[in-house]
Symmetry: C2
Amino acid sequence: MVHLSNPYLDGLKDDILYHFDLGTRSHDLPAMFGDVKFVCVGGSPWRMKGFTQYIAGELGIGDPNADYPNICAGTDRYCMYKVGSVLSVSHGMGIPSIAIMLHELIKLLYHAKCSDVTIIRIGTSGGIGLQPGTVVVTKQSVDPKFKAQFEQIILGESVFRHTDLDEELAEELLHCSKELNEFETVIGKTMCTLDFYEGQARLDGAFCSYTPDQKFNYLRKAYDAGVRNIEMESSVFASMCKMGGIKAAVVCVTLLNRLEGDQITSSHDVLTEYQLRPQKLVGYFIKKQLKKSSQ
Amino acid sequence: MVHLSNPYLDGLKDDILYHFDLGTRSHDLPAMFGDVKFVCVGGSPWRMKGFTQYIAGELGIGDPNADYPNICAGTDRYCMYKVGSVLSVSHGMGIPSIAIMLHELIKLLYHAKCSDVTIIRIGTSGGIGLQPGTVVVTKQSVDPKFKAQFEQIILGESVFRHTDLDEELAEELLHCSKELNEFETVIGKTMCTLDFYEGQARLDGAFCSYTPDQKFNYLRKAYDAGVRNIEMESSVFASMCKMGGIKAAVVCVTLLNRLEGDQITSSHDVLTEYQLRPQKLVGYFIKKQLKKSSQ
């Protein structure tokens, strides 16, 4: 079961999941979500809608061209789609945006009495020393000093939390990629930053106070520390899923090799194909799991 | 003029503003944006579209019921609308999300050769010790320890930046609110956090490790330090606008009084009316400024 560490929640007459436009009094959450076994999350609302269509087709439980309704249609903060036991939710960009979503998602799964849930973030990232298009399954999320921790500030004080992801799940995803045999997948550390430009040592932001050599040295050090890609959500995702007792994985495609440049210059078609890779891998994994559990 | 502090940008043949789906080679940025004098930004894409319609009507330069095209229609990361000299851009939730947008917005204004630009964030927030619906114009953004600084991590090292906002602009906005005389407006400090639940001492997140007393004491200390509202973007907004040489203000309505509760329980209609208040105030301000400059 999904578990909360909050003694005050059960005392609420109505729990309003404000950024989803859902609530325990206004919606029958167990009826709507009680059968959820897989939750896939990603930054882009379009991509999460696309994933729902894709997984519907892959699992043979829905039309891949159908227009699945957005469960959070009453708000523009996040989008949410469901087909069978697969829930798909967008989370915007950055740690704060995904953290709000995860607080409300974990409460939703708890209120809906879900059990044995697996949650996977399918995203995009900048790669380090990898061919663009390579998929990285995160072993551990690290901060910009390459430490495996997430800093949460509570009542003005820093609290440090673990950022390990489920090892067995990561290995199973790597194994699925080998069976699928369509693109390269590696397991590695993922660096999670609060900024896309200065925070990731890019030379093409509005501000830049370092030289190309300093940038290269920093990324090289990251590579030597085991970092294979950089994104902006994995640390809080790992820490919150662990606290909620939910098995979690991060599967991101790399859109470029940061040792070679900063701008994302690949054509629209190439980038679109890259972004489908985590979806394909996770789709294959879900199909395999459902097959196993129905045997 | 908007200024960049990046010696490498002018060497780029093409500057791709990836998250806007715009670029210096693919778009004639001076022709599209050269006349921009006011930029209004806010978290919600729907609200920013609504603001464009509202300001079109207020300034008498467009139909308030027209369907203004989204300039960033090629991406789902941000929405952008323009009417006359007013640009309206959504920024999602949290520091990282608005920071990506601001890097690309400041570069856009620079490439478009804009001058004398004023940028105003119109948002929502939790109030401290204020009647819900009160509008707060930020004097200074403070962190969760009530310090007026924004921490940017560059090449793994912390850099601290100023978070003061333009004092004269804040006073002018307060003055406008008095002239408008439709709702209460105050000038105060705004606390900027990385999390909506634990980071803002809420008791209704998925996790909560403090008591109601500890929560209340923390918010009381914030009030004593001059904090009148809490949101999630003002610190990086203040610091980046200052670095870009752009006059900036933060105008947020308070949706609830955090000394009295955590959940946003007001009716949809009441919340909708509250959210119009910063728009009305900023609309009044822009109209007055344009009148002044045409005299």
